[in-house]
């Protein structure tokens, strides 16, 4: 499957990644979308890693 989006998917995700990671607003948006600590119901999520990620993102 290639993206249904109008331009190169890899370039687009990289652009969005930069938006998220390189500005205060990006990090605030990540915190808005992500739970401080999530409840696992199907165990497909690595919560220990998420917790590290969450701490890391808040420290940046």
């Amino acid at each position: 499957m290639t993206s249904t989006e109008p331009f190169n998917f890899c370039q687009r995700t990289e652009n969005v990644r930069q938006m998220l990671m390189s500005s205060k607003n990006g990090r605030l948006l990540m915190q808005e979308l992500a739970p401080a600590n999530a409840v696992a119901i199907d165990n497909t999520i690595d919560f220990s890693d998420w917790s590290q990620w969450s701490q890391w993102s808040q420290q940046q």
Partner: protein
Amino acid sequence: MNERPISVYRTLVVLQPTPFCNIDCKYCYLPDRKNPNTMSEAVIERVAYEILSSDQIEFPMVFLWHLGEPLAVPRKFYDRAFDIISNVNKQFKREYSHSIQTNGTLINKVWIDLFRSYDVRVGLSIDGPEFIHDRNRVTRGGNGTHAEVMRGIKLLQDAAIPFGVIAVLTNFSLDYPEEIFQFFIENGIDDVAFNIDEIDGVHKVNSFSDPTAFENYKKFLLKLLYLASFQPDKFKLREIWTNLRTLSLGNKNPYNTTNQPLRIINISANGDFSTFCPELRAARSEKFGNFKMGNLVSGRLVDIWENPVFKLVNEEVQRGVKLCAEKCDYWQFCGGGAPSNKFFESGRFDVTETNTCRIHKIATVDTLLTYVEQRLAPQQI
């Protein structure tokens, strides 16, 4: 023997206390929901020994009681089962937890006490407001179950027991993002995962096969994200934040527990077991039979590596994962998709794109990208 994959993901052991379910959801994939058999103490003890003694499993792991309605057995079933598992574990000292995925209709104070006593994590299924939920989640007499589920939710909330929700979306639901969002907000439900109506097991039709579903799903999700932005910290959607992590950090080695051996182990009430998606326990195939990969009463977990059904399935599943890695732009978000979706949609595992991929993964990631761009791009100028 295969090398164990390097992973920090917890192994999920899905246990079937009974195949029976007290309700009759229209999209359910399980075939044997009138069967009242229960897992015997002998089976539980063998399962506990095989799992807790195993060097094939990443600990800590989770026992998830599911594959039927887990609260359709008496409370004493779990008192006994948890004690058996705990006693077996005295010699192995493994870390594990118990989780229950329930339709919520049978929750009462007895169950609340069980959840609290054993620190059981609770997952509950509710599809949103009554007019959506009751279209599909019905009794055998065809009556809706929303009111019963809400009684269960109230009991959980009164007891301050955290729970996550799985809401199954059909194409019908996509016209009602405001109603669905308001329902979860008004009822204090902040941890939501959307599953989509998909072809699985005995469920042979899929409302998302409509060609408009892809765009409708994206519109639905985008609307929901904007609604949630006005209620920060009151609504978190699994589909969004799991993909957000990959989006923000990248993921060169994506890992999908549903397509890797022994990351999910599904054990029927009689001790039959399989690996990969739990939905495959409901599958039948000329090539793979009933997907049984062993029995933990008469055999060992480790025997799976020599089981002919496992070998056939695994070989084809891994071919499919390799194809996904080679061909799909969304590989880093997905890790190769769920074998059950591939099998139920095409009859094979060595394929790539499924309708479920298109909706549940591709449309979701596209929507997340759009949302971040719309929220942040103007501020970058």
